[in-house]
Symmetry: C2
Subunit: 153 residues, 2 copies
DNA sequence: CCTTAAAAGTCAATATATAAAATATCAATA
DNA sequence: TATTGATATTTTATATATTGACTTTTAAGG
């Protein structure tokens, strides 16, 4: 047996938070296997989603960062790979040449559509056995967690 | 305004799960800043915790992987860096020479002790406003999520 | 024994995350 | 106008994650 010599000594708070981390990473692994079939990684997919939900399919790098809560240095490489695979284009904002604008391509949009059904299937499977009321309650608690941790950061 | 041109179109299930991912990553960022002051990364810290909770402070690479739900190739590099900084030692199991055993050092143990208080402070801050009963409820739901997603994987 | 399959771990290649520093542009103002 | 300070992004260096291939050892069958 694998865990026979192991006794968890996490404090209750830590156990809860580590549980959140594990659930998140396991979920990421599950849906990543879907994205990978379409040549997308999890963070790449998230960027595409943000652009797809933005007016004209465009957004500045800074805004993508703010929405996804990721540091900007991350996005440079991600955007370059997305552009190399024709999921987005990158262009400079003529009105402010410090700004890089990312725009989703038709290929990017259709890829998101293809992914949609399978993604929903997995999301639904992870929430199997959760009635609507419990989902609402869980979402509310997660939001409170997020608010607390952003305050702490 | 950052999000003015962005309307989230996530399905309710996806919104919930993406929320879990965000909460997890924000928490990781917060506590990582604590670990970093002691020359440890988040995954390195987790490995130390597993070893510290194992009998004789020892565990096989495979068992660490099973407990932390991470692929084995990860642990090789992490363990090497941990060994380079004297947090653990690596040795071969004489009874089965395929096996690598990881063992926490005294330095590793004292480092965990130094981290303990600050780590608890941050964990507690993230759970501010959660009475015990809500924490229990949240933990139960998170565990159900995790069970579902491991089944789906 | 000998062959083969499984198990444990490492290695290599690629993608990602992060911090720190560098670059370029903009805005304000002296 | 020249300078200063703030913004937006990229670059650089290191750590991590992930997949698949590979090596060594063990276990199982014939």
């Amino acid at each position: 047996m694998a865990t026979i010599n192991y006794r968890s000594d996490l404090s209750p708070d830590e156990k809860l938070l580590m549980g959140v981390v594990r659930a998140a990473e396991t979920f990421k692994r599950v849906v990543s296997s879907v994205f990978r079939k379409h040549q997308l990684s999890f963070p790449q997919y998230n960027i595409l989603r943000v652009l797809d939900a933005s007016t004209n399919g465009q957004s500045r790098v800074t805004d993508v960062c703010r929405i996804l809560l990721v540091p900007g240095a991350n996005v440079t490489g991600l955007a370059k790979r997305l552009e190399k695979n024709d999921f987005i284009i990158r262009k400079s904002d003529p009105s402010d040449e410090r700004v890089t604008i990312l725009e989703i391509t038709p290929k990017g949009k259709t890829t998101l559509k293809h992914i949609e059904k399978e993604r929903d299937y997995h999301a639904h499977a992870m929430l199997e056995g959760f009635p609507e009321e419990e989902k609402r309650d869980l979402l509310e608690k997660i939001r409170r967690l997020l608010k607390n941790s952003r305050k702490a950061a």
